[in-house]
């Protein structure tokens, strides 16, 4: 019963890799999105700098969250007992 | 344990179908009632675009030629082409030829031919492609209408890219 628990089968491993990449894809797309919008607002000359800062603050937090999640995933997998 | 690749055959097939569908989203082909030869009219008859597409220089819309335009030359056969015969027949019957538009602008775009052709001195081929070299009627937009193209050209010529210029 407890045989597959630490060494997941192919499908589950795939899902796990998929979920990690998903969060990173999200973070990267959010970053490109915000940067794209910043360049757009530069082009249109229509944003006050303060509003740009509000949006820029978001980026490191997103990255941090993805980092934490990756740290947890990899940390747990690495630290599991080998049998 | 059975070893399989990262993707099975089914997945590959599925991906291929999706990609195929994406690639084949070609637009509907537009056919004309008569296989008009632009090249002959421009090079041999020495016509200009605006001779038939009147309005391009002086009006907002350029137009498709009416039968009266064709009549000036094609009241009788000039050559031996079957297609020309159709024109002559239409001329004698005084019927309009039901040309199909290739370029239609969406309703929310204001585009003035006069402004671009006469004031801006932009050659027709910039927006319509090398139509004058065509021996068969085009079945799609040689240069597709894209807002990006409009804006690029406006940028290069330092014309206002204000939205209100084209969208009212």
């Amino acid at each position: 019963m407890s045989e597959p628990k630490t060494n997941p089968s192919g499908l589950i491993f795939f899902l796990q890799i998929f979920s990690i990449s998903l969060i990173w894809i999200m973070v990267v797309s959010v970053i490109t999105w915000i940067l794209n919008l910043i360049s757009l607002s530069r082009y249109l000359h229509d944003a006050q700098n303060a509003t740009l800062i509000i949006s820029l603050v978001v980026l490191p937090i997103f990255t941090l969250l993805a980092g934490i999640l990756t740290y947890v995933f990899i940390g747990i997998r690495k630290a599991r007992p080998h049998d | 344990m059975k070893q399989t690749g990262f993707f099975g055959r089914k997945e590959l097939l599925f991906a291929a179908i999706i990609l195929g569908l994406y690639g084949c989203n070609s637009t509907e082909k537009i056919t004309q009632p008569i296989a008009y030869n632009h090249s002959i009219h421009v090079s041999e008859a020495g016509l200009y675009c605006t001779d038939c597409h009147v309005g391009a220089e002086t009006k907002i819309q350029a137009t498709l030629p009416s039968i009266k335009r064709c009549q000036t030359c094609h009241s009788e056969m000039q050559g031996e082409s079957k297609e020309e015969a159709k024109v002559v027949e239409a001329v004698t019957n005084k019927e309009e030829i039901p040309w199909n538009r290739i370029y239609t602008l969406p309703e929310h775009v204001f585009f003035s031919h006069r402004r671009h052709v006469t004031s801006g001195k932009i050659p027709c081929s910039d927006c319509h492609g090398d139509v004058e070299k065509l021996t068969k009627p085009a079945d799609h937009q040689l240069v597709p209408i894209q807002m990006k193209r409009c804006m690029n050209c406006h940028d290069q010529k330092s014309i206002s890219n204000d939205c209100l210029t084209c969208h009212v």
Partner: protein, 228 residues
Amino acid sequence: MTKWGMVIDLNKCTGCGACVNACRIENNIPNVGEEEAQKGRALDWMQIVTEYEGEYPDVRVTHIPRPCFQCDNPPCTKVCPVHATFLNEEGLVGQVYYRCIGCRFCMAACPYSAKKFNYFEPDIPESYEGIRNPDVTRRMKGVVEKCSFCHHRLSLAKDLARFENRELREEDFQPACVESCPADAMTFGDLENPDHRVATLIHSSRAFRLDEELGTDPKVYYLKKEDK
């Protein structure tokens, strides 16, 4: 730089509503029907706001025709999330219907209630097709619309002036409401061009703007109503 503006003389305005109707026809403004109008969803771009002062029988009525004020510091364009409404170089506040996502933030932000929302697919009857203005986009359901100072007329006027190789004259570009005003209460032109009548009228001692203290800097001036 041109800066289009309007001056409305409240002394002359009789509140007849010609401007409202001219605007409707010029800009393909659909008739929403009685039921919808009762719900407060009429789409008129030009609206006549009536102010009452005093008690009966000494009531003073002021009719204030209210187009979009085309503010120089527009509160509506700041909040638009998709650049559907914006201030252009000539000081006109544009509204692009095909970009608008219908969040109605600009309507909430506009202190003058100048923006209108298409709650239903605008219904223009077949019989209207012949008199529909082809230069003005037909709106679709779910977008915000507003007065554009008849910008399509400006486009055509500029086009014609360039075609005829001359400068744009004051009378070349007049919005439909100004053109139709039977009392001659409305004047339109370039606020920064001393040759235009509006440029002098705005320095009149009677000139004022609505809610000027908001700092929106409207380009529609009014001439105060005075007792004669």
